[in-house]
């Protein structure tokens, strides 16, 4: 048995899971916060070809057509070791307002792949399925949590009517960010999702 290629395959599998996990969590977060990303509702033809192509079944969570804006993000996040930081930003005021628009970060989501140093040389075969299973659960919890936090109400309000508001939600995705000031930190509540898998040496 070629141990070298087995562990190579296992590593690649793990990396693919991590990469898709980042994408999926990005999708879950933005889908429930940014109204402008909502894909245009199809006329109801469920058998249309485009629906099948874009159908993303990773982690057994089907979310419908992927917004085209997210396609470019797919290629952006090359280094899996960098954290993915998603800021949900409330924009108030605008051209009407004397002060110009004010942007406030109302949520910051940090998705990080942590690994022990030195880097694990040989990944084991069984780890992928355990990792995948736990990721499925975590993403379910994330999906629900997005709907329970206050920002969801803003999203729903903006999405539901055609009325023009003088506020809106935009987002920013990056691998680094300015830390919050102490004042800002004090106003924010921290939630954390426990590690999905710790790989021991």
């Amino acid at each position: 048995m070629d141990l070298q290629s087995n562990s190579q395959a296992a590593s690649e599998e793990l990396e693919q899971i991590v990469s898709q996990f980042l994408l999926k969590s990005l999708r879950i977060i933005l889908d429930s916060r940014v109204p402008s990303l909502r894909p245009h509702d199809p006329s109801g033809d469920l058998s249309s070809a485009s629906q099948m192509e874009n159908r993303d079944e990773w982690f057994n969570l089907v979310l419908g057509d992927r917004p085209t804006a997210l396609d470019s993000l797919n290629s952006w996040h090359r280094n899996l070791m960098d954290p993915m930081i998603i800021d949900v930003i409330l924009v108030r005021g605008g051209s009407n307002s004397a002060e110009g628009s004010i942007e406030t970060v109302i949520e910051r989501w940090v998705v990080r792949y942590e690994y022990p140093r030195p880097r694990l040389v040989s990944a084991q075969a069984g780890q992928s399925s355990a990792l995948y299973k736990k990721s499925i659960i975590l993403l379910r919890a994330l999906y629900l949590q997005m709907r329970l936090l206050p920002a969801y109400r803003i999203f729903r309000q903006l999405s539901s009517s055609n009325q023009a508001y003088n506020f809106g939600i935009i987002y920013k995705v990056s691998s680094f960010s300015d830390p919050f000031s102490r004042e800002e930190q004090e106003m924010m509540h921290v939630y954390s999702f426990r590690d999905v898998l710790k790989i021991a040496l």
Binding site: E57, K133, R140, A141, Y143, L144
Partner: protein, 209 residues
């Protein structure tokens, strides 16, 4: 393998189905298209698996539960949602049944207090503000807060404890693992016996011999 148990904070029975759906959503690990449900009474959205068969089963159990509570108004009552693995035990003089190893149990504590009703049509004609209205909206706010708390309790539990979840078996149906929803049966003591039997079954096999 140990059995993880979660006792949920008490809730109004009108949220019983929603809570069961929420728990199952985190345990139906097969392909799911999530279905968002907006509650009319509270400004809360929760998530279902969107499976009709599951929905019917949950509704049926909740209805049975409410019937039971109406017949036993003063008894404490809970709905128990359990997940188990099926082990084919070697037939012996002790038993030749198929054994169930429970790995997770949720106790949903529901009370059948009067739930807030919509503004009654009578008072539409009256110019006097209904004195009960403020009380009703305070009660609604309290119910909403407790519901939100229980939903977060579920999220916390499923996130903190993942190691005990067995590998996903190849099963039909949207819920990946064998499960059962237990409501109190016609006699209180029978319900208690069921619970004790279940607790014995979750023990390490050597405990039973």
């Amino acid at each position: 393998m140990n059995c993880e148990v979660c006792q949920l904070k008490e809730l109004s029975v009108i949220m019983g189905a929603g809570i069961l759906h929420t728990i199952v959503f985190h345990r139906a690990l097969g392909l799911v298209r999530p279905k968002d449900i907006d509650l009319e009474l509270f400004e809360i959205t929760y998530v279902q698996c969107g499976d009709v068969e599951l929905e019917n089963k949950i509704d049926e159990k909740i209805e049975q539960f409410i019937n039971w509570v109406e017949k036993h108004p003063n008894k404490k009552s809970q709905v128990c949602l359990s997940f188990y693995e099926v082990k084919n035990k070697q037939p012996s003089w002790f038993t030749n049944k198929i054994e169930r190893l429970y790995w997770e149990q949720w106790y949903v504590n529901l009370n059948v207090a009067q739930h807030p009703k919509a503004h009654s049509s009578k008072s539409h004609h009256s110019k006097v503000v209904d004195p009960g209205e403020e009380e009703r909206s305070a009660r609604t706010a309290a119910l909403e807060a407790s519901l939100r708390e229980v939903l977060f309790q579920i999220i916390k539990f499923v996130n903190e404890k993942k190691d005990h979840v067995p590998p996903i078996p190849n099963l039909e149906g949207v819920v990946s693992f064998p499960y059962e929803i237990t409501i109190p049966s016609s006699s209180d003591s029978a319900f208690g016996m069921d619970m004790i039997k279940r607790m014995l079954q979750t023990g390490h096999p050597t405990m039973l011999s």
